[in-house]
Symmetry: C2
Subunit: 112 residues, 2 copies
């Protein structure tokens, strides 16, 4: 079993930003640096509750970040460094993406 | 760029089932067969809108399936073959998982 862990979030309701993407394969180093930085920066924002993120060898990735409110999501979207990273994403890093904002209504987990 | 594609869903609102998991590393063959079968079976259910699914080499995976309504999600949950697979998941395949049911309120995408 992996050493990885999953995000531990409070009882619903809260919000999820579901970001599914396909990498272009361009600029792996720049992408990796920016992805790490965005994870760090997101975790410092008010209302951030956690994140789960996976990318496979074919370049398909899903990142789900959890937030206390729509206000928190809007503030993170306006963050200047995040805005620059999104521009780079459209220019270089992503062949396609879909972003969905969703209200988590119920949740349950299992741990061995 | 990958040949993979992302789910194409209708305009919100609709529902997302966000399933984040960590594999035990046990029974890879049985897991792969069941995972393929569940993807096929889910796609045949009323109200199914699509799925995005990624698992990385460390065994962490995120599968997000999209549904027209909570009723559709509840019916899929009651499916007998799906129920058996979930039992196998807790017994053998997953070290941990978190399942969240969320209402997608807005969405946008980008394609090169």
């Amino acid at each position: 079993m992996s050493d990885a862990d999953l995000a531990r979030t409070p009882e619903p309701p809260y919000y999820a930003v579901i970001f599914a993407s396909i990498r272009t394969g361009q600029d792996d180093a720049g992408y990796a640096t920016a992805a790490d930085r965005m994870m760090e920066l997101a975790s410092e924002q008010p209302g951030y509750l956690g994140v789960d993120s996976v990318r496979d060898a074919t370049g398909v990735g899903i990142t789900v970040s959890y937030w206390s409110s729509e206000t928190a999501i809007a503030a993170w979207r306006r963050n200047a460094e995040h805005t620059l990273a999104r521009e780079q994403g459209r220019k270089n890093w992503y062949g396609a993406y879909e972003l969905r904002v969703a209200k988590v209504e119920r949740a349950y987990g299992f741990r061995r």
